[in-house]
């Protein structure tokens, strides 16, 4: 009984009392806001209109009016769907074939194509239903009107074949295999955990050993220490993708030697960001716990489990600072959709900005600390000098 009272008293005075109530509340608020949209509305779609008719225009207007879809572009001539889906500006391409209006007027069957990007399957659920609904409604309207005009009664109309048919193709991951979504996501997260844990601990480790300025006060001396971590992470990622492709049957269309470029940029951005976050930590274990700032958001908002489209704009913007966001976009773009490296300048640029900003901030922090230690040593020298005179 005595020990229980003792422990209650200890808890009453410790941080635990606040944290146990505050942390779940914050989590409830944070995740509540993050998943507040519940369903994806207005997913971007692109339409290839090969018919150029007033009926195709009506159909586009109907697709645009659907709450699940937003038509972001209407392309008047043929274009490879791979090109249109490459940069995640659209999740589906709907093809209205030439002769749509004519065949409809003649009462012939017309096939409308819907090509969907299945690299993030959670983004497509609403769209598939919505397109089906539009086609079904169109068919009903078409057959009911034309048959009613011919004097057929409502009972007879029910048995008539629908003129519009929809053919859906799920691109890039047709079977919604978890290898291309969850598995590669977890592999990336494991590499991220290990890399940031090691790179984040560099500065606290050196400070503890008293070797932070052992090779001079230049920040380049510290910066250069991330090179082994970044290089080894790159090699490790490439090896695990190779294993997933060979053993797990993962789709990987990009040339490995080209994909090294984004992987290197990613690893450097990640290691430098970790070094920046861990720089002011008192010891190695504190630096480790700081890395959750990189880990949890990387897991939640970069499209591993849920497409970023399902998140409110605020969280989508938060993801921009995370190297993992850009790596996942590059994997989906280059490896799954077979996009060429030149189409991903935005992603590569973002990684370069992260590298540059982390480099700059590390430099400023090193400069501050170097000055402080410099003046401290001078003070020490002055003190000892003064003592000697006395």
């Amino acid at each position: 009984m005595k020990s229980l009272t003792e422990e209650w008293k200890y808890v009453a005075g410790s941080k635990f009392l606040i944290v146990i109530f505050a942390a779940p509340l914050i989590a409830a608020l944070f995740f509540g806001l993050m998943f507040s949209k519940n369903q994806i509305s207005e997913s971007p779609v692109v339409i290839i209109d090969e018919d150029h008719s007033s009926y195709s225009r009506q159909l586009i207007a109907k697709i645009n009016a659907s709450q699940y879809m937003k038509v972001t572009n209407v392309i008047p001539s043929r274009m490879n769907p791979d090109t249109l889906l490459a940069n995640e500006q659209a999740v589906a391409v709907i093809v209205l074939p030439a002769g749509l209006e004519l065949n409809r007027a003649l009462g012939k069957s017309v096939t409308i194509g819907a090509l969907m990007d299945n690299t993030m399957p959670s983004g497509l659920t609403g769209i598939r239903t919505a397109i089906q609904e539009i086609i079904a409604t169109e068919n009903m309207a078409l057959s009911m009107t034309s048959l009613a005009q011919q004097g057929m009664d409502a009972e007879a109309i029910k048995g008539i074949i629908s003129p519009l048919t929809l053919v859906q193709r799920m691109l890039y991951n047709p079977t919604t295999s978890f290898i291309g979504t969850m598995v590669i996501g977890f592999v990336n997260i494991v590499v991220l955990m290990i890399t940031v844990g090691a790179a984040g601990a560099i500065a606290p480790r050196l400070r503890r050993e008293g070797r932070l300025f052992a090779n001079g006060t230049s920040p380049a001396q510290l910066w250069i220490r991330v090179v082994p971590y970044a290089l080894l992470s790159t090699v490790s990622l490439l090896l695990s993708y190779g294993l997933l492709k060979q053993a797990g049957g993962m789709r990987f269309e990009a040339e490995p030697h080209l994909f090294i470029i984004p992987l290197l940029l990613y690893s450097f951005a990640l290691s430098l960001l970790a070094m920046l976050l861990g720089y002011t930590a008192k010891d190695v274990s504190k630096a480790g716990s700081r890395m959750s700032v990189l880990l949890y958001p990387s897991f939640l908002v970069t499209g591993i489990q849920l497409t970023p489209l399902a998140l409110p704009a605020f969280f989508q913007v938060t993801a921009w600072a995370l190297p993992m966001n850009w790596l996942n976009r590059l994997i989906r773009g280059m490896a799954f959709r077979n996009g060429s490296l030149s189409a991903y300048s935005l992603e590569l640029g973002a990684l370069l900005i992260i590298i540059g900003a982390a480099t700059l901030l590390i430099g400023l922090m090193v400069m501050k600390e170097a000055r402080a230690s410099h003046s401290a040593t001078e003070q020490q020298h002055a003190d000892s000098g003064a003592l000697r005179i006395i």
């Binding site: 209109d49 150029h52 008719s53 007033s54 225009r57 586009i60 207007a61 645009n64 937003k70 038509v71 972001t72 572009n73 209407v74 008047p76 001539s77 043929r78 274009m79 490879n80 791979d82 090109t83 249109l84 490459a86 940069n87 500006q89 030439a98 006060t217 230049s218 920040p219 380049a220 910066w223 996009g339 060429s340 030149s342 189409a343 991903y344 300048s345 935005l346 590569l348 640029g349 973002a350 990684l351 370069l352 900005i353 992260i354 590298i355 540059g356 900003a357 480099t359 700059l360 430099g363 400069m367």
Partner: protein, 210 residues
């Protein structure tokens, strides 16, 4: 020492500036493909219809795949009265189908053969902002990008017209592209042994000098 600091900060700033430039000015896949206009290769084909008195096919002079000139003999028909009539090709082209064989009875209105014109054409839809690059009778390079061994042939701009229903399309303002007027440009393509109607033809507007 100070110089090292300046170099370090300078490199960091260059990285940020370079990254921003790449992110802002870089072209995504759609923008890169925007100047490459694609259309379907098409050919006019003409059905030769028998328009003379009833009779029997006596002789078939053309085979599938034969090139014929306007006025070339396709069939000889023996009329019931004993005299002979000739069925001639009305266009230059290639015979793609023969619907009758010697001994068949034919009456006026029967289709007897299909002659496909040797010149191919493709319709491209070009935006107002790009249309100045194309002039009537201008020669352009036409590519067939999806063939196993891509080929390139010469084409000529045969007509430019406002795409009637498409010209006033106001669908989405997101990209501003659908808002502008579209022009239908017909490119006439010389025949080539490897080409077939239905293939995807492509004209790169960037290759055409202003």
């Amino acid at each position: 020492m100070k110089q090292k600091w300046i170099v370090y900060i300078g490199i960091a700033l260059v990285l940020i500036a370079g990254g921003s430039l790449l992110a802002a000015k870089g072209m995504d896949a759609v923008s890169q493909a925007e100047h490459r206009k694609q259309g379907v290769l098409d050919a006019d084909s003409l059905t030769v219809i028998y328009d003379k008195k009833p009779g029997t096919i006596d002789q078939v002079n053309a085979g599938i795949g034969d090139s014929v000139q306007k006025g070339d003999l396709l069939f000889k028909v023996k009329l019931e009265q004993g005299s002979e009539e000739e069925v001639l090709s009305t266009e230059d082209g290639q015979v793609t189908r023969i619907a009758v064989k010697p001994g068949d009875q034919i009456t006026p209105g029967n289709p007897v053969a299909v002659v496909q014109q040797t010149r191919y054409r493709t319709d491209l839809f070009v935006q107002e902002g790009q249309i100045h690059k194309l002039k009537l009778n201008q020669s352009v390079k036409v590519r067939f990008p999806y063939l196993d061994q891509p080929i390139e042939v010469d084409g000529v701009v045969a007509s430019i017209a406002a795409a009637p229903q498409f010209a006033s399309l106001r669908m989405t303002r997101e990209k501003g592209q659908a808002d502008v007027s579209m022009f239908a440009v017909r490119i006439s393509v010389a025949s080539h042994a490897d080409l077939l109607p239905g293939m995807t033809a492509e004209v790169d507007l960037n290759e055409i000098a202003d």
